[in-house]
């Protein structure tokens, strides 16, 4: 894991920016444990957040050419984690995801409290994305409404995480799990790679 130096973004508090590979996803977990608890995320949310982030970094190193970049930042209501891999979209990516979204109404394992959190459409990017790093990536799906889902229909079902995957589907299970643990998961597939943004509302200290 190599920490990346970035200018301090306006409107948000950049907590961590780093590059990782297969052998540093553990170091990324350890860094998030330390940094996220430093901005006030406590248990059991901290462990759940790390479980979710780890599934996304694992997918990035397993399907994305072995490397990825991660940024973790804090907004007024959320801890947001962005993972960008350097892999291309699989050629078989043709599933249409606009038909249904059972994950959207699922409060997840954290129970009814999730219902009281910020509405999903207000969460993912929130005008507070730190600049840099992702130049060249096209953000296609800023919010999980039907229109944007239709626009990213080319991404594979394996990567979507909307549907509970069959037992043998490792990659799909990771994103399915991230959706269970986080408030929103936004996946954007581009020719340059896949960008996954996890938003996790929590009682944080304000930046």
């Amino acid at each position: 894991m190599v920490e990346l130096a970035l200018p301090h973004p306006s409107g948000s508090n950049l907590v961590l920016a780093c590059a990782f590979d297969l052998h540093s996803i553990a170091a990324v977990r350890h860094a998030i444990l330390s940094r996220a608890s430093g901005v006030g995320l406590g248990e059991p949310h901290l462990s759940d957040f790390i479980l979710a982030v780890n599934e996304v970094t694992s997918n990035a190193v397993r399907h994305g050419g072995g490397k990825g970049r991660l940024r973790l930042w804090q907004t007024v209501v959320n801890l947001v984690c962005e993972v960008v891999d350097d892999g291309a979209v699989p050629a078989s990516s043709t599933a249409d995801l606009a038909a249904s979204d059972p994950g959207a109404s699922d409060p997840g394992p954290r129970g009814p409290a999730a219902d009281a959190r910020a509405p999903a459409e207000a969460v993912p990017l929130d005008g507070a994305v730190p600049p840099g790093l992702d130049a060249g990536l096209v953000v296609e799906g800023g919010s999980p409404d039907v229109d944007s889902d239709a626009r990213v229909a080319a991404r594979s079902e394996r990567m979507s995480g909307h549907h509970r995957p069959p037992p043998a589907a490792e990659g799909g299970r990771g994103l399915w799990l991230a959706r269970r643990l986080c408030d929103t998961v936004t996946i954007t597939a581009t020719a340059a790679g896949t960008r996954v943004v996890l938003a996790f509302s929590a009682h944080l200290r304000h930046p």
Binding site: V2, L22, R29, H30, A31, P44, I50, N54, S58, V61
Partner: protein, 291 residues
């Protein structure tokens, strides 16, 4: 990053190859002949320090056996007679030029037994994995070999360090091979991510399970399938497990239908087991170790 990690107490700037313990099976990579030699030297010194036997495997055709033997004689002068040995491998490939992986595992098992008979409390096995190269790398066979080799270390009699040449194995092969080891070490860093020990009635796990040791973990927990009921997976000191690792536990428990499997683990591990469907396996009992 190093400075920041040190501030957070996360970086121990030791030589990960020198801190290996009996039961460890790890890989390392090297980019230069000097780094490869350093790997042998560090393991040999640690072995002699601990009174262990040290067996170094090098490619027969490389001219390495004699050169390394001469080097180690000078670099580890405290070694007793026969304590540090260099063994050439690769000439014994079976007919058709195929790499004899099964023969290698049998041979390593015999070397471990021999070291015990000779009175050593442990043996350190360190190999230059170039012996597996025969033209194109058969990644699948190599990964299967490394995964199967984990069983040699579960009883805590041996250390295994497999050194891979970055100039001869490509990145995808190295990632797949590395994941068949419980951990990877470098000349500056921590010990392996995961340690494990076999007991008559189960397995003890210490550390973390993620994509970097996924294949090794599957191989290790697959041993549970052969154990009588009840079998215990003591994961009290397992600090992290990912979804694939938890699914491997659930899968092996399902195979043991009719024979109870007990997993003793902290909250995070129990949470992941639940998320991947542990409750659907009737004979799988998850006990919290932290309540």
């Amino acid at each position: 990053m190093r400075r920041l990690l040190a501030e957070e107490g996360e970086a121990a700037m030791t030589d990960g190859r020198a801190t290996l313990e009996l039961g460890d099976h790890v890989c390392a990579s090297y980019a230069t002949d000097r780094e490869r030699r350093d790997g042998f030297t560090v393991v040999a010194r640690a072995g002699v320090r601990d009174g262990h036997k040290v067996l170094c495997f090098v490619e027969a055709s490389s001219g390495m056996p004699a050169a390394l033997g001469g080097w180690l004689a000078g670099a580890v002068p405290a070694a007793g007679p026969g304590q540090v040995r260099v063994q050439a491998v690769g000439d014994g490939a079976a007919a058709g030029g195929r790499v004899d992986y099964l023969g290698m595992i049998d041979g390593l098992a015999e070397e471990i037994n021999r070291a015990m008979r000779e009175g050593y409390p442990g043996i350190r096995l360190v190999g230059d994995m170039a012996w597996t190269l025969r033209g194109d790398v058969d990644t699948e066979a190599l990964v299967d070999y490394e995964a199967a080799a984990n069983e040699l270390f579960g009883d805590g009699r041996a250390v295994g360090l497999c050194q891979y040449d970055l100039r001869r194995f490509d990145g995808a092969t190295l990632r797949a091979v590395a994941a068949a080891h419980p951990g990877m070490v470098t000349g500056r860093g921590d010990g392996p991510l995961l340690r494990f020990a076999f007991a008559p009635r189960g397995i003890t796990l210490v550390g973390e399970v993620d994509a970097s040791n996924r294949r090794a973990f599957s191989a290790i927990v697959s041993r549970l399938s052969t154990l009588p009921a009840p079998a215990t997976l003591d994961a009290t000191d397992l600090r992290f497990i990912d979804a694939a690792g938890a699914a491997a536990i659930v899968a092996v428990a399902a195979v043991r239908a009719g024979r109870q499997t007990v997993v003793r683990c902290p909250r995070g591990v129990a949470q992941m087991l639940r998320l991947v469907g542990a409750a659907q396996v009737p004979d799988l009992v998850v006990e919290r170790s932290d309540v």
